[in-house]
């Protein structure tokens, strides 16, 4: 069935280092991929989205490229900040449905 997999549950990094959070998906439909971010005690918010193969999309210093050949949409940032500490969710929408399927989430903790 359709699904999203985030392999890392917890990621801890020192400020200034690069990060990559993994996201892979399974679907037989044309995919739309999203990253949502949830800071502590807040609601999830859309960070970025894409449906175009091999095109990098960026927002607030984060970037991701949808690779349909490998069914991946990894989230990256070149230099993490303390304020990036949050829960990050990858989500999938199929082309003919109005619902999102969320991964289990990755908790990113950035240390001084």
């Amino acid at each position: 069935g359709d699904s999203v997999t985030q392999t890392e549950g917890l990621v801890t990094l020192t400020k200034g280092l690069p990060v990559m959070l993994n996201c892979t998906y399974q679907t037989t439909y044309s995919p739309f991929l999203f990253w949502y971010v949830q800071h502590l005690n807040e609601a999830p918010k859309l960070l970025l989205k894409s449906s175009t193969d091999n095109k990098r999309t960026e927002h607030q210093g984060f970037y991701a490229t949808l690779h349909k050949s490998s069914s991946s949409f990894h989230l990256q940032k070149s230099s993490v900040q303390l304020s990036d500490s949050a829960l990050y969710f990858c989500a999938l929408r199929m082309s003919n449905y109005n619902v999102l399927y969320f991964g289990s989430g990755t908790k990113l903790t950035v240390e001084p």
Binding site: F32, L46, F89, Y97, N98, V99, L100, Y101, F102, G105
Partner: protein, 112 residues
């Protein structure tokens, strides 16, 4: 800025009791969603709606009912609450394609 509100923000219920969680949106979005968030499971879709009078089952509808009496309001009803329904519940509204979903602040439900 899109606005989704939820009430109550915190609720303690007894096993077997009835619980109603309310959601209101002022975005004039057709689509509304109810999720629950549990550690290790991410956001799981319970029910959703395409507009007033419609409700659809999500991935985990058992034990939950939903009601969409108007464009603005979407309720989640637990007729017979159980301890396994202890969780954080998020309501969201979404644009026509369901891509960008705007989440409410969440409701913490504890069923004793």
């Amino acid at each position: 800025e899109a606005a989704v509100t939820q009430s109550p923000r915190n609720k303690v219920a007894v096993t077997g009791g009835k619980v109603t969680l309310s959601c209101n949106q002022t975005n004039n979005h057709n689509n509304m969603y109810w999720y629950r968030q549990d550690t290790g499971h991410g956001l799981r879709l319970i029910h959703y709606s395409y507009g007033a009078g419609s409700t659809e089952k999500g991935d985990i509808p058992d034990g939950y009912k939903a009601s969409r009496p108007s464009q603005e309001n979407f309720s989640l009803i637990l007729e017979l609450a159980t301890p396994s329904q202890t969780s954080v519940y998020f309501c969201a509204s979404g644009d026509a394609k369901g891509d960008t979903q705007y989440f409410g602040p969440g409701t913490r439900l504890l069923v004793l």
